[in-house]
Amino acid sequence: MSKDIAISVRGLSKSYTIQHNAAKHTTAAEALLNRLRHPFARSEQETFWALKDVEFDIEQGDVVGVIGRNGAGKSTLLKILSRITEPTTGEIDLYGRVGSLLEVGTGFHSELTGRENIYLNGAILGMSKREIARQFDAIVDFSGVEQFLDTPVKRYSSGMYVRLAFAVAAHLSSEILIVDEVLAVGDAEFQRKCLGKMKDMAGSGRTVLFVSHNMAAVSNLCSSCLVMQRGRVCFAGNVEQGLDYYSASMNASGGTQGPIQQFRPSWAKPYITSLRLLNEEGKEQTHFPLGSDVVVEMEFCSPTFPLRSPVMGVVINHMTNGTVGGVNMRMTGDEIPDGEYAAATIRCLLKELPLLQGQYTMDIWLGDGAGDVDNVSGYLTLHLEETDIYGSGKVPFHHMGVIFFKPEWKLRTEVGGQERKCLVGMK
């Protein structure tokens, strides 16, 4: 059985030119001066292929997850498919109206009211005025901010803001939908709601192309997936096999990460500037033996206004099994004294992490006294390696859930009517 095609990509490449020896001229004077100094020198240029010979077809109604580490070309692919930037070579045919969500709340203006922003954002996403008017009630309903519809969104909490933004995006009615990591915003409950909405969209016969670092979301939503590596598609097909392929390739080559900026929406005000995993000695490390003490370090800065009482939150996700657990400073009652923090580093020591071997990603949250201000999802990858934690020469089963525990066994039996007890394992 063959369905109709929705997206066909042939020989797609995209190159960027990187200029070396700091010869990046942002003013005409600099460019002119350099030209005068070195009239014949051709500036040293390097061509960087963000995408190289990418080919794939997507059938109508398919929900395709695009996964790959940072800098693999996922975002470039989405930008080309949504016509924000042009390919260097290649052919793309799209069968159906395309809507793309590369960020929630693009074009939201803080001075405008919720109502005005719905119309503006809808228009920016490509909806006609009539379409927005028809969907207006549904959008407001989904966002849950009807009381504040005529309040400028600058007075909204960041949660409300994101909910409203996603609500508009969720009502985009195009046959092909291109989504980039939109779920990485909002609180956990709202993320669940968004996932539900995405699932509805996927179920309604629309073609969805979905980039995410959240493997649980991908395996949950998608029927097939594309795995990208260094600008190429190296796997296309079934989602389970794709995820296996991806984690195998992740394990094979350490965990170096790209810049952190691309993980957060551009309107986030105080933001996380650096994230690292450290061992208890304070050395950077990504691979740990089971049961280790793991330190998560977060640096943040707040250029526009100082943060009053910063709160850090850590959520750990298993590659395929979803969220394992999470903790934040408010929950544990470890509050940072009220003050003005323009930039700071917070370290969180996770003592004897009881997680099984495998690969985990972490979502790190930064909040102030009132709510969440920034979060970085999927940036930190934690590898826990098989360790003989019981000293038995064996390692815990990796397929038995996600945690291990330290048991103490006791034996009780009756021998000849006499009760005998012993602690097992004491040789």
Binding site: S2, D4, I5, S8, Y16, T26, T27, A28, A29, A31, D53, E55, D57, I58, E59, I80, L81, S82, R83, I84, T85, E86, P87, T88, T89, G90, E91, I92, D93, L94, Y95, G96, R97, E103, T106, G107, H109, E111, L112, E116, L120, A123, I124, L125, G126, M127, S128, K129, S224, Q229, V233, C234, F235, A236, G237, Y245, S249, S253, S266, W267
Partner: protein, 305 residues
């Protein structure tokens, strides 16, 4: 890494290899229907797709509405600034040029004379500065959403036109107050206004495209605007320019247009058909050149801005 798996799953990276057809690859290319949209790399000069801009008219209006709504939010006087700004400028001009320098004003009160000049000038200068800044000012949109890029500069024209409308109504009040009536020439005024806007749009589009790569334009533009304002008959009349200098003076396409504006509004001054024709040709030419340059450079905007 990739190659290891090529045999197992369908992998299209190695194009010379025999690839296993996965469910993605099941339909031969020639059996496919016509695509809704084809994306191909383009280079060089491009045609301007007017239909596409028309399809995005709702966005154009939404952006225009945003600009209008945001203009005077958080100001105490609000929309009154639309009238106050040209009134204050006209006051300064009539003091400096009328009272102090005692320049002729073709027999109209200097204040009215300067205000009429400023009406056209403001339409020109605000179009030019808004259009030239629109790509950088909306860089978050340019790098995150697709729409015909020309929608952004075109949307700025609306708020300029609204300002113009209000200032024009004020002029009518001033003219009645001073007992000055326009002649039939007023009927030609929309033509001059259109040419002014085309000239401003053309220059604006060219500099908007340039600003994306070189922010210097933002700093040069105000100086250029100030220079061109004094080089055009806005604060003074053409009659104040020495006769033998006039043919150079009218090389500035604005001179002819500004003079024509005042002729239409106040019924004073002279119409120079030759100079006007020259201004019209330049205006249309600059507009076409600006629009095509913008179109040519637009595909780089998202990567550079």
């Amino acid at each position: 890494m990739c190659e290891d798996f090529c045999g197992v799953y369908s992998c299209r990276t190695d194009r010379s290899a025999e690839t296993v057809e996965s469910n993605f690859m099941s339909i031969p290319l020639e059996n496919r229907p016509r695509p809704t949209l084809s994306i191909r790399p383009r280079s060089g000069w491009q045609a301007i797709n007017v239909m596409e801009i028309w399809q995005f008219r709702d966005l154009l209006l939404a952006l225009a509405a945003r600009d209008v709504k945001l203009r005077y939010r958080q100001t105490a006087l609000g929309a009154a600034w639309v009238i106050l700004q040209p009134l204050m400028a006209a006051g300064i001009f009539s003091f400096v040029f009328g009272r102090v320098a005692k320049l002729p004003s073709d027999g109209v009160p200097y204040f009215l004379f300067a205000y009429a000049g400023l009406l056209g000038w403001n339409a020109f200068s605000s179009t030019l500065s808004k259009v030239s800044g629109c790509m950088v000012g909306n860089s978050h949109l340019v790098s995150k959403v697709f729409f015909p890029r020309l929608v952004l500069p075109l949307s700025t024209v609306f708020s300029t036109l609204i300002d113009f409308g209000v200032a024009f109504a004020m002029l009518a009040v001033l003219m009645v107050a001073h007992g000055v009536l326009p002649g039939v020439g007023i009927l030609l005024f929309p033509v001059w206004l259109l040419l002014l806007l085309l000239l401003a749009l053309g220059l604006g589009l060219y500099s908007a495209a340039l600003t994306v790569s070189y922010r210097d334009v933002q700093y040069i533009l105000p100086v250029f605007l100030q220079f061109i304002m004094y080089a055009s008959p806005i604060a003074y009349a053409v009659s104040a320019v020495p006769e033998q200098m006039q043919k150079y003076y009218f090389l500035n396409p604005l001179s002819g247009l500004m003079e024509a504006c005042r002729w239409s509004l106040l019924g004073r001054g002279e119409l120079h058909p030759g100079y006007l024709a020259y201004s019209a040709v330049i205006s249309v030419g600059v507009f076409v050149f600006g629009a095509f340059t913008f179109k040519r450079m637009e595909r780089k905007f998202a990567d550079v801005v």
